[in-house]
């Protein structure tokens, strides 16, 4: 039987962790873009747009991420569309991330006092001008800490994509365990690597919160 050194285990896990990082980054950026669009729809004046955005958010927040991954991967397969695991994982995580970011950011937009909308309206600004020049610059400041905080959920959420066969950190952990029969060591390392990814994010979220609160002198 082949002997595996600790370095063999760790090396393989670290190589797979690249995919966890890549998937996290792609989902977060994609989710940010889609989330931004959903945010505009969610705060729009047109009622049907608001309803549509609300329905989207409720659907994706009200179902487990795992089911969304299954539907993206197997569901489309039923229609004869062959979806590779990486694509299904990326799409499902992006849509899931977007639903949460849109709702986090909506809270930030609504935290801006009504007087800011009224003052900019009275200066003849339109909705997009108000958002671009008055509301979002202020909302952004309060949005940074919860947004960075949520990125931790995205990193951990990528572990679910192992179920549909995407080889990232968790899947690699399973594969390596099957080869080495050392589950405690392997999953211990897996957990440590996740922690190394997530902890700096949570910590920076806390630091940003403190820093931006000081800068946000008006409240």
């Amino acid at each position: 039987m082949t002997e595996f050194t600790t370095w063999d285990i760790l090396r393989n896990l670290l190589l797979a962790a690249r995919w966890t990082v890549l998937l996290s980054v792609v989902s977060f950026i994609g989710g940010g873009i889609v989330g931004g669009l959903v945010l505009f729809a969610r705060t729009a004046r047109a009622v049907w747009l608001r309803r549509l955005a609300q329905g989207y958010i409720e659907l994706f927040q009200g179902t487990p991420l795992l089911m969304q991954l299954f539907l993206a991967f197997f569901g489309l397969g039923l229609f004869g569309i062959d979806v590779p695991a990486w694509l299904a994982a990326g799409v499902a995580l992006t849509l899931w991330t977007a639903s949460f970011l849109a709702e986090i950011w909506r809270g930030c937009v609504e935290a801006i006092p009504k007087g800011q909308w009224e003052a900019s309206s009275s200066l003849a600004m339109g909705y997009f001008q108000q958002m671009r020049h008055v509301i979002l610059p202020q909302a952004l400041r309060i949005a940074v800490p919860p947004t960075v905080g949520f990125s931790v959920q995205v990193v951990k959420g990528t572990s679910l994509t192992s179920i549909i066969g995407f080889v990232e950190l968790s899947k690699a952990g399973t594969v390596v365990t099957n080869a080495t029969f050392l589950p405690f060591t392997v999953y211990g390392f897996v957990a440590l690597i996740y922690f190394a990814l997530c902890w700096p994010l949570s910590k920076s979220s806390q630091i940003l919160e403190r820093k931006l609160n000081v800068a946000h002198r008006n409240h």
Partner: protein, 241 residues
């Protein structure tokens, strides 16, 4: 022709009718003080003139153009009529100068240099030329309100609506804001102001409107309204002040 013509305006919030058929014509250069108890509808009336509230019935004409609730008409109206609020509502993330420049550049598409020139001129006019680079939270309430006035003036409106603009100020800061308004009035700016400053209304305004329970209860030159109130409601209101 009157600059602002308010005809039979009605407005309800739910089942509560706040404005019950308001008629008021404001001539160019007139300074109108709107007084009355809280809940009499005076602020709502002012907000209707700027399109911040939609009216249920009647009509409002500003310089001959009808106030309609779609974006295009509202924008045209708001280019003519500026508004100043009780809570200043300066943009806290921008300096005083930037506050005054923003809508010129965004709405009127004025280039940066002339917008800045205009902003400096308007801040000078309210006595705050030296505060161009100060952020709102570095200014006193009175200074913030004067920046808000400069911000509205920079759009070159033909009329200004003032909604209790001194009510949120400490007593010693009220006068610096009223002095600016007094100057505007002397220069011929058309003003509609909801105010609790009776002395100011008496000294500066051309007409005083007393609102009571959603109606214009009494109207006339300040000398008349303050010296000979015709209705018991106004007598009581003035007595309380």
């Amino acid at each position: 022709m009157s600059l602002i013509a308010i005809t039979e305006v009605r407005k309800s919030f739910g089942s509560n009718e706040v404005l019950k058929g308001i008629n008021l014509d404001v001539d160019p250069g007139e300074v109108i003080a709107i007084i009355g108890k809280s809940g009499s509808g005076k602020s709502t009336l002012l907000r209707c003139v700027n399109g911040l509230e939609t009216i249920d019935d009647g009509s409002i004409l500003v310089a001959g153009a009808q106030l309609l609730p779609d974006d295009l008409h509202l924008k045209a109206l708001r280019l003519k009529v500026g508004m100043i609020f009780q809570g200043f509502n300066l943009f806290p993330h921008l300096t005083a100068g930037r506050n005054v420049m923003l809508s010129q550049m965004v709405v009127k598409k004025t280039a940066k240099a002339p917008a800045e020139e205009m902003a400096r001129k308007m801040l000078d006019r309210v006595g705050l030329g030296h505060k161009f680079d100060a952020f709102p939270d570095q200014l006193s309430g009175g200074q913030q309100q004067r920046v808000a006035i400069a911000r509205a003036l920079a759009m070159q409106p033909i009329a200004l609506l003032c909604d209790e603009i001194t009510s949120a100020l400490d007593p010693e800061l009220v006068n610096e804001v009223l002095a600016v308004v007094r100057e505007l009035a002397a220069e011929g700016m058309t003003l509609m102001m909801v105010t609790h400053e009776m002395r100011f209304a008496r000294d500066v305004c051309s007409r005083v409107v007393f609102m009571h329970q959603g109606r214009v209860h009494e109207i006339g030159p300040p000398g008349e309204v303050f010296a000979n109130p015709k209705t018991p409601e106004l007598r009581q209101f003035l007595g309380a002040h």
